[in-house]
């Protein structure tokens, strides 16, 4: 049992024994070898086991694992089998769809919020200052409506004005600030300007305090610099630009009135504009008088008092009417 020949001999002897191909003598000799040699016994048990297993294996065909696997996949792929909820494809698809729908709804809501309009309307005697989402300020005169979006888009700042407003536009060269006022489209980058666009009045005015502004009405366009104003005549359809001579165009906002050799008739017209609560009436003879004065945010009563003393006039007060009479100039 030391050489390979011996080993091979023993192996052949054991196989012969299993096959029953040996003589009775050889058989008992083999049995003795198995009993006495542990190594032989172990080896013999191995091949004996293979010998018997092979006999059993020979009775049946080897099962076809691949075919069985296909059969299994087919059986378990059908919806008949209860799969934990999350493992079902439709549940996953539905979940993904739901997420998509929710996201779309979120985006839609966000956009609708972004485009949502803010409308500010003032009463006849009211003044109001509105702060825009970009930091621009708009002071509204009475009977004025301003529309602007809750959020400006990335490309443009668009507002709509009906009435009169003084705009202090925050500089943003990337996003022009566009005011739609009646028939006018006013494009500014960063500037201060007054827009007067009451639908009841026949003229629409844009007056620039500082900066540069483009005003268009249909095909017509004028460019305004500081202290220039554009006037659009709605009945004529004309758009003209002039130097602004009206020092008081912003008085509705500042209540600062500057008069240089101005007739009392004109002064009263301005006062009625700036102080809409009460109506000031003046007789024709007195209206011709001219005066130079600066009223800086004074109450109407004080202004009337200054005028009365200057020309030694008579003033009568009724409920909401002040009448000025006198000798005249």
């Amino acid at each position: 049992m030391t050489g390979s020949n011996t080993y091979k001999d023993i192996h052949e002897r054991l196989v012969r024994y299993l096959a029953g191909e040996d003589s009775a003598e050889e058989r008992s000799e083999t049995e003795r070898l198995i009993r006495t040699h542990e190594t032989v016994r172990g080896y013999f048990e191995d091949i004996r086991r293979i010998w018997h297993s092979a006999a059993i294996a020979g009775r049946h065909p080897q099962p076809d694992m691949e075919a069985a696997w296909r059969k299994f996949e087919k059986a378990t792929a059908s919806g008949m089998i209860s799969i934990p909820l999350w493992s079902r494809m439709w549940v996953r698809v539905a979940a993904v769809m739901l997420i998509l729908i929710m996201s779309a709804a979120g985006v839609w809501y966000f956009r609708s919020v972004q485009h949502r309009e803010v409308i500010v309307s003032t009463a006849p005697e009211e003044r109001q200052t509105v702060s825009m989402p970009d930091g621009s300020l708009v002071t509204l005169n009475g009977r004025t409506t301003l529309n602007y979006p809750k959020r400006f888009t990335r490309e443009v700042r668009h507002v709509q004005l009906e009435g009169e407003g003084f705009f202090e536009v925050t500089a943003d060269e990337e996003r022009p600030f566009i005011i739609n006022a009646g028939d006018l489209k006013i494009t500014v980058l960063g500037t201060r300007l007054n827009v007067k666009a009451y639908s009841a009045e026949k003229e629409t005015e844009v007056t620039v305090a500082s900066g540069r502004v483009s005003v268009t009405a249909g095909q017509k366009e004028v460019i305004l610099n500081a202290d220039e104003k554009a006037v659009f005549d709605r009945t004529l359809g004309s758009l003209t630009s002039t130097v602004n001579r009206d020092a008081n165009y912003l008085a509705w906002k500042t209540r600062k009135l500057v008069f240089r050799d101005t007739s009392l008739g004109e002064i009263v017209t301005q006062l009625n504009r700036i102080y809409p609560g009460q109506e000031v009436m003046i007789s024709d003879s007195v209206a011709r008088c001219r005066m130079t004065a600066t009223f800086d945010d004074l109450p109407l009563e004080q202004i009337i008092e200054v005028i009365r003393m200057t020309f030694d006039l008579e003033v009568t007060r009724e409920a909401d009417r002040i009448t000025i009479t006198g000798k005249g100039c």
Partner: protein, 196 residues
């Protein structure tokens, strides 16, 4: 909603996180098929004495396991579960056909326990079948005639028109190759022998 999570002890003893996705689960079952399908069939065929019937039983066991797979967590437990299920279904199969178990495997009538001799034996049978198929052609032919058809050496020699000595040499060679091939499956058996 319960999220399916499956922890499987793999053959190498590593913990493998299975489940979560259907693809992972498929792979797990594919692995079970490759590892156990044939042996389970060889196990079932002891009861049924009919391989197609055995294959049907194993298929049913796997489908049932697919349906309730989340309750079993270790591969060791999975294997035991599969064998136990096959045994139970096989006994039902016999009962339905009013057949009795092959007296050769009488012990199986009471069902089995884990690490049963027969589960190892079934695995060996599946491997033996594969190993025989891989023998050199002439060697395999001789071996099959001996073991599958139970022919004597002389009969084989006549059938193949070769000498009895050649048959003996081929038989010897076949067993040598098979033992080498099946070594790892035989080790376990030896350990069991010692215990007995």
């Amino acid at each position: 909603m319960r999220l399916y999570l499956h922890i499987v002890m793999t053959g190498s003893g590593q913990m493998m996180d299975q489940g979560r996705s259907g693809a992972d689960l498929r792979m797990f079952f594919r692995h079970l098929y490759e590892e156990h399908y044939k042996a389970l069939c060889w196990y079932a065929v002891r009861y049924t004495r009919d391989m197609p019937a055995a294959e049907d039983i194993v298929h049913e066991v796997f489908v049932a396991f697919w349906e309730k797979r989340s309750t079993i967590d270790r591969e060791g437990a999975v294997k035991a579960y599969l064998y136990r299920s096959v045994a139970n279904r096989s006994l039902n199969w016999l009962r339905d056909r009013k057949q009795t178990i092959n007296p050769e495997f009488a012990e199986l009538a009471s069902g089995v326990t884990e690490d049963d001799f027969y589960t190892d034996q079934a695995e060996l049978e599946a491997r033996v079948h594969e190993a025989i198929a891989k023998l050199p052609p002439r060697c395999g032919e001789v071996f099959r005639l001996s073991r599958f058809e139970d022919l004597k050496y002389r009969e084989i020699a006549e059938r193949l028109n070769i000498s009895v000595r050649t048959v003996e040499v081929q038989m010897s060679k076949a067993l040598q190759i098979l033992r080498e091939e099946l070594k790892e499956w035989l080790v376990l058996f030896l350990i069991l022998l010692r215990i007995w």
